[in-house]
Symmetry: C2
């Protein structure tokens, strides 16, 4: 007997018929003798509808009340799924965040789970009942409803799995796993059987939106085994695990890309101490996340060029923030470009192998693709290129590292 937490996302519960299909999966797991707890998202489109109401009231809203409104979507799904399971003869009941309780901090709209009281759920599971927990929601120290931020049901699932001591946390979504590259671009992309938490984190941070970043961090912290798989097809998915559970580490696990980048270059910035802080301080205050940064060594010791990237929807605010300090910062001109893409090569294996970055640079050079900015971590090399070369670059790299199906 295993204990399993299953999570079903919005497209998996988009209609009563889809909820019935989900019910069959749960029943199959129960019938095979396992203890199962389930957490669910709102029906596809519901959260957007509810957010739409809030936006219609005001763009500057009280996050407490936003959470009251938006959390109802998951409540509806949990009730409906419990009903569906009961109809199939499965002993089931719904649980809301406050009933469990899933205690969070008071950062309404993006709360963090502090503690899950697993006792009640644990008892019910031992007695053969399937708890169907509304995802995405918790209860604040003030006894109010909180939500965990978009995609937060992933985090609910992993946190519940950790609290319940689950053997596995199955994240059912509309893709059947994590691939070596986007299968829509690379025809011979291969589904990974296993991937490490660290790689998954890097993937999530460069736009492969299979799992919420925070959910991966939490899984890593608790060494909670997570499986990503499809609710629309059968077969196993991709296991996200500790590095030491992967015997044959691959040099490179995958190629990711993100077109949600914008490049900003300050030409002829004074090359003196404190300039970087003067530029990036105000951006941090404005909650603008700066990703890649590159500063050339100045030739004359007086002025240099500084380039960095931000998310495309932060570009306008970024430019405004910097231009209002033009005098203080003392740069020549500001140039920006949204037609860029970030291409990343990810793999824990590269830690112990030199030459991964070199292969990347050479492959892109052979295709005549110019590298604008480079950034690296222990297990990732990212480059910024012209957006129009995205697909060409991903395909070339996928082939260069021999990632395709054999």
């Amino acid at each position: 007997m295993k204990r399993i937490v299953q999570k079903f996302g919005g497209t998996s519960v988009a209609s009563v018929d889809r909820i019935r299909a989900v019910g069959k999966r749960i029943k199959a797991e129960v019938d095979s003798g396992n203890e199962v707890a389930v957490t669910v998202s709102a029906m596809a489109g519901e959260t957007n509808r509810l957010v739409g109401y809030v936006d219609e009231v005001s763009s500057l809203y009280d996050a407490c009340e936003y959470d009251v409104v938006v959390s109802t979507g998951e409540q509806v799904t949990s009730g409906l799924l419990a009903l569906v399971l009961q109809q199939m003869g499965v002993n089931a009941r719904s649980w809301l965040g406050w009933q469990v309780a899933i205690s969070t901090d008071d950062a309404y709209g993006k709360a963090r789970i502090m503690k899950i009281n697993a006792e009640l759920l644990d008892d019910r599971m031992k007695s053969g009942q399937v708890p169907v927990i509304a995802g995405f929601q918790g209860i604040s120290p003030d006894n109010r409803v909180t939500t965990l931020g978009r995609g937060g049901t992933d985090t609910s699932a992993v946190a519940l799995a950790a609290a319940l001591g689950a053997d596995r946390c199955d994240i059912y979504t509309d893709v059947d796993g994590v691939y070596t590259a986007d299968p829509r671009i690379v025809s011979d992309a291969r589904k990974l059987e296993k991937i490490t938490y660290e790689e998954m984190l890097e993937m999530a941070s460069v736009g492969t939106k299979v799992l919420q970043t925070r959910a991966v961090e939490m899984a890593m912290k608790h060494s909670q085994k997570v499986q990503v798989l499809s609710s629309f097809s059968d077969g196993s998915g991709t296991l996200v695990v500790d590095e030491d559970e992967i015997v044959e580490k691959e040099l490179v696990s995958g190629i990711a890309y993100s077109s949600d980048e914008a490049k900003v270059t300050l030409v002829k910035v004074l090359d003196k101490p404190g300039v970087a802080a003067a530029i990036f301080g105000p951006l941090a205050e404005a909650n603008i996340n700066v990703d890649m940064i590159v500063q050339n060594v100045s030739e004359d010791g007086k002025a240099t060029d500084l380039t960095f990237t931000v998310a495309q929807n932060d570009l306008e605010r970024t430019v405004a923030k910097i231009e209002e300090r033009h005098q203080d910062l003392g740069y020549g001109t500001l140039v920006h470009d949204s037609k860029v893409a970030k291409i990343s090569v990810i793999g824990v294996g590269m830690r112990s192998h030199a030459g991964v970055a070199q292969t990347m640079f050479q492959t892109l050079a052979e295709k005549g693709i110019n590298i604008q900015v480079i950034s690296t971590s222990e297990i990732k090399v990212s480059v910024l290129i012209e957006e129009q070369y995205t697909e060409l670059a991903v395909r070339a790299l996928h082939s260069a590292y021999a990632l395709g199906t054999l």
Copy 2:
């Protein structure tokens, strides 16, 4: 300074624009120096949408989970109205049933309020905050969500008003008060300034769906002053009060009608003890509510005709229940008719005045309308007539009792 509980029904909060209009009414009450608490229904159509999901799953559902799903409509409205009020500069926050807490019994789907913990709300109101309480919902002894039955937000409002010691409970709806007759039928129908709880109860029970019956019972029990008024127009509505608050009691307060009746006649029923029990026992067990009953004295002491009415949507089940016991009951034939209407004359004044019923019978006779069944209470006379004469009867009676505008 007065303390007022305001309730806004589904059509009053049907859109964000309508919620803004409601916000203005609340702000006006606050600005005039009063302490205000508000309770709200789901946006018009929401509850039906949610009930539709549940029905799609199963016609035989677990009422606990039904309540989890259906209660979300009021939660959404409470959050949105709190946001609207905040935007208008009114200090406001939403409250869910479990947060207050509004404790109910465990009759899911039609729960009764047992106790309201008014302390938290009371504190907030004294400090100038407007609580916006999700109507229709409570919390069961098992810590689960309950709902109070369709129209239950009226009951939430009256119960909150009683618990908070409110001077008045204002029920905002889409009509501007209680009329002497349906204004769509009687052009000179007059809005009543005041009406007693008892009269309001009789009105509610014969189809004038201005207030939920249970809400009126609760108001009567607590002598809670209630006002029914429109959120779509200005001006005062109708006050529902204790009888002794009405100085000039009118003989008749209003004429009500209901077309939701069906008549069943058992011809040649054996006239012996226990027959009525044998007929109505099985109907009661099947939860079929029998309204009017009339049994003629038998001429020969052997057989009589028995006529009674049930709600139209219970007719089919009623006939089935009785026909399956044809042998035991030993009646001749069963005749039924749905083309009937119940016309009622209501007024506390008739207690001390004879002749009210006589006026009714004579008026109908003059119009050539045959009376099929009669039933009376202390403050009501009801008759069953052919449905096609409904409007004629209501107009004639309204005029006979001189109820029109002067």
